[in-house]
Protein backbone atom coordinates (compact mmCIF):
# COMPACT_ATOMS: atom_id res chain seq x y z
CA UNK A 1 0.00 0.00 0.00
CA UNK A 2 1.31 3.46 -0.75
CA UNK A 3 -0.51 5.23 2.06
CA UNK A 4 -2.94 4.96 4.96
CA UNK A 5 -5.78 6.52 3.00
CA UNK A 6 -5.55 3.52 0.67
CA UNK A 7 -4.83 1.02 3.43
CA UNK A 8 -8.05 1.70 5.32
CA UNK A 9 -10.17 1.75 2.16
CA UNK A 10 -8.71 -1.62 1.19
CA UNK A 11 -9.25 -2.98 4.71
CA UNK A 12 -12.87 -1.85 4.73
CA UNK A 13 -13.53 -3.31 1.30
CA UNK A 14 -11.82 -6.58 2.23
CA UNK A 15 -14.01 -6.80 5.30
CA UNK A 16 -17.09 -6.22 3.15
CA UNK A 17 -15.91 -9.07 0.94
CA UNK A 18 -16.03 -11.34 3.97
CA UNK A 19 -12.47 -11.45 5.24
CA UNK A 20 -11.32 -10.90 8.79
CA UNK A 21 -9.23 -7.75 8.56
CA UNK A 22 -6.48 -6.12 10.59
CA UNK A 23 -4.43 -2.99 10.06
CA UNK A 24 -2.41 -0.56 12.16
CA UNK A 25 -1.22 2.98 11.99
CA UNK A 26 -0.06 5.94 14.06
CA UNK A 27 -0.27 9.73 14.29
CA UNK A 28 0.00 11.30 10.80
CA UNK A 29 -1.12 8.00 9.33
CA UNK A 30 -4.32 7.88 11.37
CA UNK A 31 -5.14 11.45 10.46
CA UNK A 32 -4.40 10.82 6.78
CA UNK A 33 -6.66 7.78 7.04
CA UNK A 34 -9.53 9.74 8.49
CA UNK A 35 -11.68 9.99 5.38
CA UNK A 36 -11.58 6.23 5.02
CA UNK A 37 -11.99 5.68 8.75
CA UNK A 38 -15.64 6.66 8.45
CA UNK A 39 -16.31 3.77 6.06
CA UNK A 40 -16.24 0.75 8.40
CA UNK A 41 -18.66 2.16 10.99
CA UNK A 42 -20.96 3.57 8.31
CA UNK A 43 -20.98 0.29 6.43
CA UNK A 44 -20.99 -1.69 9.70
CA UNK A 45 -17.79 -3.61 8.96
CA UNK A 46 -15.92 -5.31 11.83
CA UNK A 47 -12.42 -4.11 11.01
CA UNK A 48 -9.86 -4.26 13.85
CA UNK A 49 -7.07 -1.74 13.93
CA UNK A 50 -4.23 -0.88 16.27
CA UNK A 51 -3.97 2.86 16.68
CA UNK A 52 -0.49 3.37 18.02
CA UNK A 53 -0.65 6.78 19.65
CA UNK A 54 1.92 9.30 18.57
CA UNK A 55 1.90 13.07 18.72
CA UNK A 56 0.73 14.72 15.53
CA UNK A 57 3.17 16.95 13.62
CA UNK A 58 3.94 19.79 13.54
CA UNK A 59 4.75 20.49 17.16
CA UNK A 60 4.73 16.77 17.65
CA UNK A 61 7.51 14.33 17.61
CA UNK A 62 8.01 10.67 17.41
CA UNK A 63 6.62 10.04 20.86
CA UNK A 64 3.09 9.49 22.06
CA UNK A 65 0.09 11.47 23.14
CA UNK A 66 -3.56 10.53 22.72
CA UNK A 67 -4.71 13.26 20.35
CA UNK A 68 -4.43 11.22 17.17
CA UNK A 69 -6.87 8.52 18.20
CA UNK A 70 -9.11 10.88 20.19
CA UNK A 71 -9.51 12.93 17.00
CA UNK A 72 -11.34 9.88 15.64
CA UNK A 73 -13.75 9.69 18.54
CA UNK A 74 -16.73 10.76 16.40
CA UNK A 75 -16.17 8.30 13.58
CA UNK A 76 -18.05 5.42 15.17
CA UNK A 77 -15.07 3.24 16.05
CA UNK A 78 -15.05 1.47 19.40
CA UNK A 79 -11.87 2.58 21.18
CA UNK A 80 -10.12 0.56 23.86
CA UNK A 81 -6.97 1.98 25.47
CA UNK A 82 -4.30 -0.43 26.69
CA UNK A 83 -1.77 -0.17 29.46
CA UNK A 84 0.92 -2.63 28.37
CA UNK A 85 1.89 -5.15 25.70
CA UNK A 86 0.02 -7.97 27.39
CA UNK A 87 -3.20 -6.02 27.37
CA UNK A 88 -2.68 -5.07 23.71
CA UNK A 89 -2.33 -8.71 22.73
CA UNK A 90 -5.35 -9.79 24.74
CA UNK A 91 -7.43 -6.86 23.57
CA UNK A 92 -6.79 -7.54 19.89
CA UNK A 93 -8.21 -11.04 20.35
CA UNK A 94 -11.16 -9.64 22.28
CA UNK A 95 -11.65 -6.91 19.66
CA UNK A 96 -12.64 -9.40 16.96
CA UNK A 97 -15.23 -10.96 19.23
CA UNK A 98 -16.66 -7.53 19.99
CA UNK A 99 -16.54 -6.24 16.41
CA UNK A 100 -18.03 -9.39 14.91
CA UNK A 101 -20.77 -9.74 17.49
CA UNK A 102 -24.10 -9.68 15.71
CA UNK A 103 -25.42 -7.07 18.08
CA UNK A 104 -22.53 -4.72 17.28
CA UNK A 105 -20.90 -4.90 13.82
CA UNK A 106 -18.70 -1.93 14.47
CA UNK A 107 -14.93 -1.58 13.94
CA UNK A 108 -12.69 -1.66 17.00
CA UNK A 109 -9.56 0.41 17.54
CA UNK A 110 -7.03 -0.95 20.01
CA UNK A 111 -5.16 2.17 21.15
CA UNK A 112 -1.80 2.17 22.88
CA UNK A 113 1.13 4.50 23.05
CA UNK A 114 4.20 4.43 20.89
CA UNK A 115 7.51 3.95 22.71
CA UNK A 116 6.09 3.37 26.19
CA UNK A 117 4.13 0.38 24.93
CA UNK A 118 4.94 -0.21 21.27
CA UNK A 119 8.74 -0.02 21.51
CA UNK A 120 9.03 -1.35 25.05
CA UNK A 121 10.02 -4.96 25.40
CA UNK A 122 8.45 -6.75 28.35
CA UNK A 123 7.60 -10.41 28.94
CA UNK A 124 4.24 -11.12 27.35
CA UNK A 125 2.30 -14.36 27.35
CA UNK A 126 0.97 -15.46 23.97
CA UNK A 127 -2.17 -17.58 24.18
CA UNK A 128 -2.25 -20.92 22.44
CA UNK A 129 -3.44 -20.76 18.81
CA UNK A 130 -5.98 -23.53 19.36
CA UNK A 131 -7.52 -21.76 22.34
CA UNK A 132 -7.75 -18.53 20.37
CA UNK A 133 -9.42 -20.39 17.50
CA UNK A 134 -11.96 -21.73 20.01
CA UNK A 135 -12.58 -18.27 21.35
CA UNK A 136 -12.80 -16.76 17.86
CA UNK A 137 -14.70 -19.06 15.51
CA UNK A 138 -14.42 -18.33 11.76
CA UNK A 139 -16.02 -15.05 10.80
CA UNK A 140 -19.14 -14.94 8.70
CA UNK A 141 -20.59 -11.57 7.93
CA UNK A 142 -24.34 -11.59 8.12
CA UNK A 143 -25.21 -7.93 7.98
CA UNK A 144 -24.32 -6.72 4.53
CA UNK A 145 -26.26 -3.50 4.60
CA UNK A 146 -29.06 -2.10 6.65
CA UNK A 147 -30.45 -0.33 3.65
CA UNK A 148 -29.36 -2.26 0.57
CA UNK A 149 -31.23 0.10 -1.73
CA UNK A 150 -28.91 2.90 -0.59
CA UNK A 151 -25.66 1.04 -0.86
CA UNK A 152 -24.43 2.35 -4.19
CA UNK A 153 -26.15 5.68 -4.51
CA UNK A 154 -26.68 8.67 -2.26
CA UNK A 155 -29.02 7.50 0.50
CA UNK A 156 -32.21 9.19 1.44
CA UNK A 157 -31.57 11.70 4.21
CA UNK A 158 -34.09 9.92 6.40
CA UNK A 159 -32.11 6.69 6.12
CA UNK A 160 -28.85 8.44 6.98
CA UNK A 161 -30.29 9.61 10.25
CA UNK A 162 -31.65 6.13 10.92
CA UNK A 163 -28.32 4.53 10.10
CA UNK A 164 -26.47 6.90 12.37
CA UNK A 165 -28.94 6.32 15.16
CA UNK A 166 -28.36 2.61 14.75
CA UNK A 167 -24.61 3.08 15.12
CA UNK A 168 -25.31 4.94 18.35
CA UNK A 169 -27.57 2.10 19.49
CA UNK A 170 -24.88 -0.43 18.66
CA UNK A 171 -22.40 1.62 20.70
CA UNK A 172 -24.76 1.48 23.67
CA UNK A 173 -25.07 -2.29 23.30
CA UNK A 174 -21.30 -2.56 22.96
CA UNK A 175 -20.86 -1.57 26.61
CA UNK A 176 -22.41 -4.83 27.71
CA UNK A 177 -20.70 -6.87 25.01
CA UNK A 178 -17.23 -5.54 25.86
CA UNK A 179 -17.73 -6.59 29.48
CA UNK A 180 -19.14 -9.95 28.49
CA UNK A 181 -16.26 -10.70 26.12
CA UNK A 182 -13.69 -9.60 28.66
CA UNK A 183 -15.24 -11.81 31.31
CA UNK A 184 -15.26 -14.82 29.06
CA UNK A 185 -11.68 -14.11 28.02
CA UNK A 186 -10.63 -13.89 31.66
CA UNK A 187 -12.30 -17.23 32.33
CA UNK A 188 -10.51 -18.92 29.46
CA UNK A 189 -7.11 -17.28 29.50
CA UNK A 190 -6.79 -16.10 33.08
CA UNK A 191 -6.38 -12.42 32.23
CA UNK A 192 -9.18 -9.87 32.38
CA UNK A 193 -9.36 -6.10 32.31
CA UNK A 194 -12.68 -5.26 33.97
CA UNK A 195 -14.39 -4.34 30.71
CA UNK A 196 -14.62 -0.61 30.14
CA UNK A 197 -13.23 0.69 33.36
CA UNK A 198 -11.09 -0.59 36.19
CA UNK A 199 -10.98 0.68 39.76
CA UNK A 200 -7.63 0.09 41.41
CA UNK A 201 -7.05 0.38 45.16
CA UNK A 202 -10.34 2.24 45.52
CA UNK A 203 -11.69 0.72 48.76
CA UNK A 204 -12.66 3.45 51.22
CA UNK A 205 -11.12 6.30 49.25
CA UNK A 206 -12.53 9.80 48.96
CA UNK A 207 -10.80 10.81 45.75
CA UNK A 208 -9.57 9.17 42.55
CA UNK A 209 -7.29 9.88 39.63
CA UNK A 210 -8.48 8.80 36.19
CA UNK A 211 -5.78 7.68 33.76
CA UNK A 212 -5.73 6.18 30.32
CA UNK A 213 -3.02 4.13 28.63
CA UNK A 214 0.53 3.40 29.67
CA UNK A 215 0.76 5.94 32.50
CA UNK A 216 -1.71 3.78 34.44
CA UNK A 217 1.08 1.36 35.33
CA UNK A 218 3.20 4.12 36.80
CA UNK A 219 0.15 5.53 38.59
CA UNK A 220 -0.51 2.13 40.21
CA UNK A 221 2.91 2.29 41.87
CA UNK A 222 2.29 5.86 43.05
CA UNK A 223 -1.19 5.11 44.37
CA UNK A 224 0.14 2.09 46.27
CA UNK A 225 2.71 4.36 47.91
CA UNK A 226 0.10 6.97 48.78
CA UNK A 227 -2.27 4.36 50.20
CA UNK A 228 0.65 3.13 52.26
CA UNK A 229 0.98 6.64 53.63
CA UNK A 230 -2.70 6.53 54.57
CA UNK A 231 -3.89 8.93 51.87
CA UNK A 232 -7.49 8.29 50.71
CA UNK A 233 -6.83 8.22 46.99
CA UNK A 234 -7.45 5.50 44.42
CA UNK A 235 -6.99 5.01 40.72
CA UNK A 236 -9.50 4.54 37.94
CA UNK A 237 -8.25 3.26 34.60
CA UNK A 238 -10.38 4.24 31.64
CA UNK A 239 -10.10 1.43 29.13
CA UNK A 240 -13.16 1.99 27.00
CA UNK A 241 -13.32 5.56 25.77
CA UNK A 242 -15.82 4.68 23.03
CA UNK A 243 -18.42 3.73 24.12
CA UNK A 244 -17.96 6.03 27.09
CA UNK A 245 -18.87 4.37 30.40
CA UNK A 246 -21.35 7.06 31.47
CA UNK A 247 -23.31 4.88 33.90
CA UNK A 248 -20.20 3.64 35.66
CA UNK A 249 -18.97 7.17 36.14
CA UNK A 250 -22.34 8.32 37.47
CA UNK A 251 -22.26 5.50 39.96
CA UNK A 252 -18.69 6.41 40.96
CA UNK A 253 -19.68 10.02 41.40
CA UNK A 254 -21.84 8.94 44.33
CA UNK A 255 -18.84 7.37 46.06
CA UNK A 256 -15.97 9.76 45.40
CA UNK A 257 -15.84 13.41 46.37
CA UNK A 258 -13.08 14.47 44.04
CA UNK A 259 -12.11 13.20 40.59
CA UNK A 260 -8.84 14.22 38.96
CA UNK A 261 -8.64 13.49 35.25
CA UNK A 262 -5.20 13.00 33.72
CA UNK A 263 -5.36 13.91 30.04
CA UNK A 264 -2.54 13.06 27.67
CA UNK A 265 -4.21 15.21 25.04
CA UNK A 266 -5.60 18.66 24.61
CA UNK A 267 -8.38 20.41 22.73
CA UNK A 268 -7.34 23.94 21.91
CA UNK A 269 -9.90 26.59 22.73
CA UNK A 270 -12.34 24.13 24.26
CA UNK A 271 -14.56 24.66 27.29
CA UNK A 272 -11.55 23.71 29.32
CA UNK A 273 -9.18 20.86 29.63
CA UNK A 274 -8.66 17.61 27.84
CA UNK A 275 -11.09 15.47 25.92
CA UNK A 276 -11.66 12.91 28.68
CA UNK A 277 -12.39 15.60 31.25
CA UNK A 278 -14.96 17.23 28.99
CA UNK A 279 -16.67 13.91 28.25
CA UNK A 280 -16.77 13.16 31.94
CA UNK A 281 -18.23 16.57 32.78
CA UNK A 282 -21.07 15.91 30.32
CA UNK A 283 -21.65 12.48 31.82
CA UNK A 284 -21.88 13.88 35.35
CA UNK A 285 -23.79 17.07 34.55
CA UNK A 286 -27.33 15.70 35.15
CA UNK A 287 -26.44 14.60 38.69
CA UNK A 288 -27.63 16.71 41.60
CA UNK A 289 -24.64 15.95 43.75
CA UNK A 290 -21.53 16.19 41.60
CA UNK A 291 -17.98 15.51 42.72
CA UNK A 292 -15.27 18.14 42.33
CA UNK A 293 -13.46 17.84 39.03
CA UNK A 294 -9.81 18.60 38.41
CA UNK A 295 -8.06 18.24 35.11
CA UNK A 296 -4.36 17.84 34.33
CA UNK A 297 -2.52 18.01 31.04
CA UNK A 298 0.52 15.83 31.12
CA UNK A 299 2.68 13.85 28.72
CA UNK A 300 1.77 16.03 25.75
CA UNK A 301 3.83 15.39 22.66
CA UNK A 302 5.16 12.28 24.28
CA UNK A 303 7.11 13.63 27.20
CA UNK A 304 7.46 11.13 29.99
CA UNK A 305 4.78 10.98 32.70
CA UNK A 306 6.97 10.70 35.75
CA UNK A 307 6.34 9.42 39.24
CA UNK A 308 6.81 12.96 40.56
CA UNK A 309 4.16 14.32 38.26
CA UNK A 310 1.61 11.69 39.23
CA UNK A 311 2.36 12.32 42.87
CA UNK A 312 1.87 16.04 42.31
CA UNK A 313 -1.51 15.47 40.68
CA UNK A 314 -2.62 13.12 43.42
CA UNK A 315 -1.67 15.72 46.00
CA UNK A 316 -3.68 18.45 44.23
CA UNK A 317 -6.68 16.12 44.19
CA UNK A 318 -6.32 15.39 47.91
CA UNK A 319 -5.89 19.08 48.62
CA UNK A 320 -9.16 19.84 46.84
CA UNK A 321 -10.81 17.13 48.95
CA UNK A 322 -9.55 18.67 52.18
CA UNK A 323 -10.49 22.22 51.24
CA UNK A 324 -13.79 21.31 49.63
CA UNK A 325 -13.23 23.41 46.54
CA UNK A 326 -11.10 23.42 43.40
CA UNK A 327 -8.49 26.11 43.13
CA UNK A 328 -7.35 25.48 39.59
CA UNK A 329 -9.63 23.63 37.19
CA UNK A 330 -7.04 22.84 34.55
CA UNK A 331 -3.34 22.50 35.13
CA UNK A 332 -0.50 21.96 32.68
CA UNK A 333 1.69 19.81 34.85
CA UNK A 334 4.63 19.80 32.46
CA UNK A 335 5.03 23.54 32.73
CA UNK A 336 5.59 23.28 36.49
CA UNK A 337 9.00 22.87 37.96
CA UNK A 338 8.62 19.85 40.19
CA UNK A 339 12.25 19.78 41.20
CA UNK A 340 14.32 16.67 40.82
CA UNK A 341 12.61 14.04 38.75
CA UNK A 342 12.73 10.47 39.86
Amino acid sequence: MEGEHTAMAAAAAASAAGARVFTASAAQGIVYMEEALWMPPGRRLPVVMCMVNRAIAPLGGLRPDHNDSLLQRDTGWIQLYCENSQEVLDTVVQAYRIAEDRRIYLPVAVCYEGYFVSATAIPTAAPDQGEVDDFLPPYKHELYSLYPEDYHRPPFPMNIAKARYEVQQAMERAKGVIEEVDEEYAKRFGRGYDGLIEEYACEDVEAVLITMGSMTGTARDVVDELRGEGKPIGLVKLRGFRPFPTEEFREMAMRYHVIGVVDRNTSFGSAGGGVVAMELARALYPLDDRPLLLNFHVGLGGSDVTINQIRYMAERVLEAYERGYVEKEVEWVELLDLGEVM
Binding site: E2, G3, Q28
Partner: protein, 292 residues
Amino acid sequence: METDRIFDEYYEKSLIQGGNLCCPGCGGPLFWRMALEALGPKTIVFGDGPCAMCAIRFLRVPTFGFHFSFVADGATGISAALEMKGRDDITVVSSGGDGAVGDISFNKVSAAAERNENLIQICVDNEAYMNTGIQKSGLTPFGAWTTTTPLGKESPKKNLPFIIAQHGVPYVATVSISHPADLKGKLRRAKEIRGFKYIHFVSPCPTGWRFHPSKTVEVARLSVETWIWPLYEIVDGTLRLTSKPKPKPVEEYLKLQGRFRNLSPDVIKLIQSNIDGKRERLLENDGERIVF
Protein backbone atom coordinates in the same frame (compact mmCIF):
# COMPACT_ATOMS: atom_id res chain seq x y z
CA MET B 1 40.49 27.92 15.70
CA GLU B 2 41.83 28.63 12.25
CA THR B 3 40.47 25.40 10.72
CA ASP B 4 37.03 26.03 12.18
CA ARG B 5 36.96 29.49 10.65
CA ILE B 6 38.00 28.21 7.22
CA PHE B 7 35.26 25.62 7.35
CA ASP B 8 32.60 28.04 8.55
CA GLU B 9 33.36 30.22 5.52
CA TYR B 10 33.20 27.17 3.28
CA TYR B 11 29.81 26.10 4.67
CA GLU B 12 28.48 29.60 4.10
CA LYS B 13 29.61 29.49 0.47
CA SER B 14 28.21 25.98 -0.05
CA LEU B 15 24.89 26.98 1.54
CA ILE B 16 25.04 24.13 4.06
CA GLN B 17 25.65 23.94 7.77
CA GLY B 18 28.32 21.70 9.13
CA GLY B 19 26.74 18.76 10.87
CA ASN B 20 23.57 17.10 9.65
CA LEU B 21 21.51 14.29 11.07
CA CYS B 22 21.99 11.80 8.26
CA CYS B 23 23.74 8.46 8.68
CA PRO B 24 27.47 8.37 7.91
CA GLY B 25 27.98 7.92 4.17
CA CYS B 26 24.47 9.05 3.22
CA GLY B 27 24.22 10.26 -0.36
CA GLY B 28 21.55 12.84 0.51
CA PRO B 29 23.67 15.63 2.00
CA LEU B 30 26.23 15.19 -0.76
CA PHE B 31 23.50 15.69 -3.33
CA TRP B 32 22.18 18.81 -1.61
CA ARG B 33 25.59 20.40 -1.38
CA MET B 34 26.19 19.88 -5.09
CA ALA B 35 22.65 20.96 -5.97
CA LEU B 36 22.82 24.20 -3.98
CA GLU B 37 26.17 25.06 -5.50
CA ALA B 38 24.35 24.93 -8.83
CA LEU B 39 21.09 26.59 -7.77
CA GLY B 40 22.55 29.41 -5.72
CA PRO B 41 21.24 31.14 -2.60
CA LYS B 42 17.97 32.35 -4.11
CA THR B 43 16.28 29.00 -3.60
CA ILE B 44 13.43 27.83 -1.39
CA VAL B 45 13.31 24.14 -0.60
CA PHE B 46 10.02 22.49 0.31
CA GLY B 47 10.02 18.98 1.69
CA ASP B 48 9.89 16.92 4.83
CA GLY B 49 9.50 13.37 6.01
CA PRO B 50 12.06 11.31 7.86
CA CYS B 51 15.26 10.97 5.80
CA ALA B 52 14.59 14.23 3.96
CA MET B 53 14.04 15.93 7.31
CA CYS B 54 17.57 14.98 8.34
CA ALA B 55 19.06 16.21 5.08
CA ILE B 56 17.02 19.35 4.46
CA ARG B 57 17.28 20.93 7.88
CA PHE B 58 20.95 21.64 7.43
CA LEU B 59 20.55 23.77 4.30
CA ARG B 60 21.32 27.46 4.51
CA VAL B 61 18.40 28.44 2.30
CA PRO B 62 14.78 28.84 3.44
CA THR B 63 13.15 25.47 3.93
CA PHE B 64 9.63 24.47 4.80
CA GLY B 65 7.85 21.18 4.93
CA PHE B 66 4.79 19.22 5.87
CA HIS B 67 4.69 15.48 5.50
CA PHE B 68 5.02 12.58 3.11
CA SER B 69 1.66 13.15 1.56
CA PHE B 70 2.07 16.79 0.50
CA VAL B 71 5.20 16.73 -1.60
CA ALA B 72 4.40 18.97 -4.58
CA ASP B 73 1.45 20.70 -2.86
CA GLY B 74 3.39 23.00 -0.60
CA ALA B 75 5.85 23.90 -3.32
CA THR B 76 2.91 24.78 -5.58
CA GLY B 77 1.70 27.20 -2.92
CA ILE B 78 5.13 28.77 -2.51
CA SER B 79 5.51 29.07 -6.26
CA ALA B 80 2.07 30.71 -6.58
CA ALA B 81 2.82 33.17 -3.78
CA LEU B 82 6.13 34.15 -5.37
CA GLU B 83 4.40 34.71 -8.68
CA MET B 84 1.83 36.99 -7.03
CA LYS B 85 4.67 38.92 -5.45
CA GLY B 86 6.44 39.19 -8.76
CA ARG B 87 9.55 37.37 -7.53
CA ASP B 88 10.73 35.48 -10.56
CA ASP B 89 14.30 35.45 -9.26
CA ILE B 90 13.65 32.67 -6.77
CA THR B 91 13.86 28.98 -7.61
CA VAL B 92 11.34 26.76 -5.85
CA VAL B 93 12.50 23.23 -5.18
CA SER B 94 10.16 20.51 -3.99
CA SER B 95 11.88 17.50 -2.51
CA GLY B 96 10.62 14.11 -1.53
CA GLY B 97 11.93 10.63 -1.03
CA ASP B 98 11.06 7.67 -3.20
CA GLY B 99 8.20 6.70 -0.89
CA ALA B 100 6.73 10.19 -0.97
CA VAL B 101 7.19 11.01 -4.67
CA GLY B 102 6.63 7.53 -6.01
CA ASP B 103 3.89 6.30 -3.68
CA ILE B 104 2.12 8.45 -1.11
CA SER B 105 2.32 11.73 -3.02
CA PHE B 106 2.39 10.26 -6.49
CA ASN B 107 -0.99 11.77 -7.31
CA LYS B 108 0.15 15.17 -6.04
CA VAL B 109 3.32 15.12 -8.13
CA SER B 110 1.41 13.92 -11.16
CA ALA B 111 -1.16 16.69 -10.73
CA ALA B 112 1.52 19.36 -10.31
CA ALA B 113 3.25 18.06 -13.44
CA GLU B 114 -0.03 18.20 -15.34
CA ARG B 115 -0.59 21.81 -14.18
CA ASN B 116 3.01 22.52 -15.22
CA GLU B 117 3.72 24.32 -11.96
CA ASN B 118 6.89 26.40 -12.02
CA LEU B 119 9.11 24.36 -9.71
CA ILE B 120 11.88 21.79 -9.66
CA GLN B 121 10.61 18.48 -8.29
CA ILE B 122 13.41 16.35 -6.92
CA CYS B 123 13.08 12.72 -5.99
CA VAL B 124 15.80 11.67 -3.56
CA ASP B 125 15.43 7.98 -4.21
CA ASN B 126 17.08 5.65 -1.72
CA GLU B 127 14.89 2.82 -2.92
CA ALA B 128 12.92 2.11 0.28
CA TYR B 129 11.49 3.75 3.40
CA MET B 130 14.85 3.88 5.13
CA ASN B 131 14.32 6.04 8.20
CA THR B 132 11.32 4.07 9.41
CA GLY B 133 13.18 0.78 9.24
CA ILE B 134 13.86 -0.16 5.60
CA GLN B 135 10.39 -0.98 4.29
CA LYS B 136 9.82 -1.59 0.60
CA SER B 137 8.49 1.24 -1.56
CA GLY B 138 7.27 1.36 -5.15
CA LEU B 139 10.78 2.35 -6.21
CA THR B 140 12.57 -0.56 -4.54
CA PRO B 141 14.28 -2.52 -7.33
CA PHE B 142 13.46 -6.08 -8.26
CA GLY B 143 15.20 -8.64 -6.05
CA ALA B 144 16.19 -6.24 -3.27
CA TRP B 145 15.89 -7.29 0.34
CA THR B 146 13.96 -4.98 2.69
CA THR B 147 12.37 -5.73 6.05
CA THR B 148 9.01 -6.10 4.29
CA THR B 149 10.42 -8.10 1.37
CA PRO B 150 12.72 -10.48 3.23
CA LEU B 151 13.02 -12.81 0.25
CA GLY B 152 13.62 -10.03 -2.26
CA LYS B 153 11.11 -7.74 -3.96
CA GLU B 154 9.09 -9.52 -6.63
CA SER B 155 7.89 -6.56 -8.69
CA PRO B 156 10.06 -4.19 -10.71
CA LYS B 157 10.93 -0.60 -9.82
CA LYS B 158 8.55 2.05 -11.11
CA ASN B 159 10.19 3.95 -13.92
CA LEU B 160 9.30 7.31 -12.46
CA PRO B 161 11.31 9.65 -14.75
CA PHE B 162 9.58 8.21 -17.81
CA ILE B 163 6.16 8.33 -16.14
CA ILE B 164 6.63 12.00 -15.30
CA ALA B 165 8.00 12.67 -18.79
CA GLN B 166 4.78 11.34 -20.30
CA HIS B 167 2.97 14.26 -18.63
CA GLY B 168 4.61 16.42 -21.29
CA VAL B 169 6.65 18.49 -18.84
CA PRO B 170 9.52 20.58 -20.23
CA TYR B 171 12.40 18.90 -18.40
CA VAL B 172 13.12 15.53 -16.85
CA ALA B 173 16.59 14.32 -15.88
CA THR B 174 18.33 11.61 -13.90
CA VAL B 175 21.47 12.44 -11.92
CA SER B 176 24.08 10.70 -9.82
CA ILE B 177 26.43 12.00 -7.12
CA SER B 178 29.28 10.17 -8.83
CA HIS B 179 29.01 12.60 -11.78
CA PRO B 180 29.05 16.02 -10.10
CA ALA B 181 29.56 18.10 -13.26
CA ASP B 182 26.64 16.40 -14.98
CA LEU B 183 24.48 16.83 -11.85
CA LYS B 184 25.22 20.52 -11.51
CA GLY B 185 24.78 21.16 -15.23
CA LYS B 186 21.34 19.55 -15.20
CA LEU B 187 20.23 21.56 -12.19
CA ARG B 188 21.49 24.81 -13.76
CA ARG B 189 19.55 23.95 -16.88
CA ALA B 190 16.42 23.14 -14.88
CA LYS B 191 16.71 26.47 -13.10
CA GLU B 192 16.57 28.34 -16.41
CA ILE B 193 13.45 26.57 -17.67
CA ARG B 194 9.95 27.76 -16.73
CA GLY B 195 7.47 25.08 -15.79
CA PHE B 196 7.67 21.68 -14.12
CA LYS B 197 11.17 20.22 -13.96
CA TYR B 198 11.76 16.75 -12.62
CA ILE B 199 15.15 15.57 -11.31
CA HIS B 200 15.50 11.96 -10.21
CA PHE B 201 18.45 11.21 -8.00
CA VAL B 202 19.24 7.72 -6.75
CA SER B 203 20.83 8.12 -3.35
CA PRO B 204 22.91 5.17 -2.18
CA CYS B 205 21.98 4.29 1.39
CA PRO B 206 24.68 2.38 3.32
CA THR B 207 22.25 1.60 6.14
CA GLY B 208 19.48 0.15 3.99
CA TRP B 209 21.46 -1.20 1.07
CA ARG B 210 23.90 -2.85 3.41
CA PHE B 211 27.34 -1.68 2.30
CA HIS B 212 30.23 0.06 4.04
CA PRO B 213 29.58 3.83 4.19
CA SER B 214 32.87 4.56 2.41
CA LYS B 215 31.53 2.87 -0.74
CA THR B 216 28.66 5.31 -1.32
CA VAL B 217 30.17 7.10 -4.31
CA GLU B 218 31.57 3.86 -5.68
CA VAL B 219 28.11 2.28 -5.59
CA ALA B 220 26.61 5.35 -7.27
CA ARG B 221 29.29 5.25 -9.97
CA LEU B 222 28.74 1.53 -10.59
CA SER B 223 25.00 2.05 -10.91
CA VAL B 224 25.74 4.39 -13.83
CA GLU B 225 28.46 2.23 -15.34
CA THR B 226 26.35 -0.93 -15.27
CA TRP B 227 23.43 0.98 -16.83
CA ILE B 228 21.23 0.14 -13.85
CA TRP B 229 20.88 3.87 -13.39
CA PRO B 230 21.56 5.48 -16.78
CA LEU B 231 22.00 9.24 -16.92
CA TYR B 232 19.79 11.03 -19.40
CA GLU B 233 17.62 14.07 -19.81
CA ILE B 234 14.31 14.46 -21.59
CA VAL B 235 13.97 18.00 -22.89
CA ASP B 236 10.56 18.82 -24.35
CA GLY B 237 9.96 15.15 -24.93
CA THR B 238 13.28 14.37 -26.59
CA LEU B 239 15.58 11.87 -24.91
CA ARG B 240 19.29 12.50 -24.72
CA LEU B 241 21.72 10.19 -22.94
CA THR B 242 24.32 12.25 -21.11
CA SER B 243 26.60 9.37 -20.26
CA LYS B 244 27.19 6.31 -22.40
CA PRO B 245 29.78 4.23 -20.56
CA LYS B 246 30.97 0.84 -21.74
CA PRO B 247 28.60 -1.46 -19.84
CA LYS B 248 29.97 -3.32 -16.85
CA PRO B 249 28.23 -6.50 -15.65
CA VAL B 250 25.43 -5.76 -13.15
CA GLU B 251 26.93 -8.32 -10.81
CA GLU B 252 29.67 -5.83 -9.89
CA TYR B 253 27.00 -3.46 -8.63
CA LEU B 254 24.87 -6.11 -6.95
CA LYS B 255 27.65 -7.90 -5.10
CA LEU B 256 28.70 -4.70 -3.31
CA GLN B 257 25.39 -4.58 -1.50
CA GLY B 258 24.09 -6.80 1.26
CA ARG B 259 20.50 -6.34 0.12
CA PHE B 260 21.23 -8.39 -3.04
CA ARG B 261 23.24 -11.05 -1.21
CA ASN B 262 20.65 -13.78 -1.63
CA LEU B 263 20.13 -13.42 -5.38
CA SER B 264 20.71 -16.66 -7.23
CA PRO B 265 22.88 -16.67 -10.42
CA ASP B 266 19.69 -17.17 -12.44
CA VAL B 267 18.09 -14.07 -11.01
CA ILE B 268 21.25 -12.07 -11.64
CA LYS B 269 21.18 -13.31 -15.24
CA LEU B 270 17.56 -12.17 -15.49
CA ILE B 271 18.43 -8.73 -14.13
CA GLN B 272 21.35 -8.52 -16.58
CA SER B 273 19.14 -9.36 -19.56
CA ASN B 274 16.54 -6.80 -18.44
CA ILE B 275 19.22 -4.14 -18.14
CA ASP B 276 20.66 -5.10 -21.53
CA GLY B 277 17.26 -4.72 -23.14
CA LYS B 278 16.71 -1.40 -21.43
CA ARG B 279 20.11 -0.16 -22.57
CA GLU B 280 19.45 -1.12 -26.17
CA ARG B 281 16.10 0.66 -26.19
CA LEU B 282 17.65 3.75 -24.63
CA LEU B 283 20.46 3.81 -27.21
CA GLU B 284 17.95 3.31 -30.03
CA ASN B 285 15.89 6.24 -28.83
CA ASP B 286 18.81 8.51 -28.03
CA GLY B 287 18.00 11.86 -29.65
CA GLU B 288 14.45 10.75 -30.50
CA ARG B 289 11.17 12.16 -29.32
CA ILE B 290 9.80 9.66 -26.81
CA VAL B 291 6.75 11.50 -25.45
CA PHE B 292 3.68 10.89 -27.52
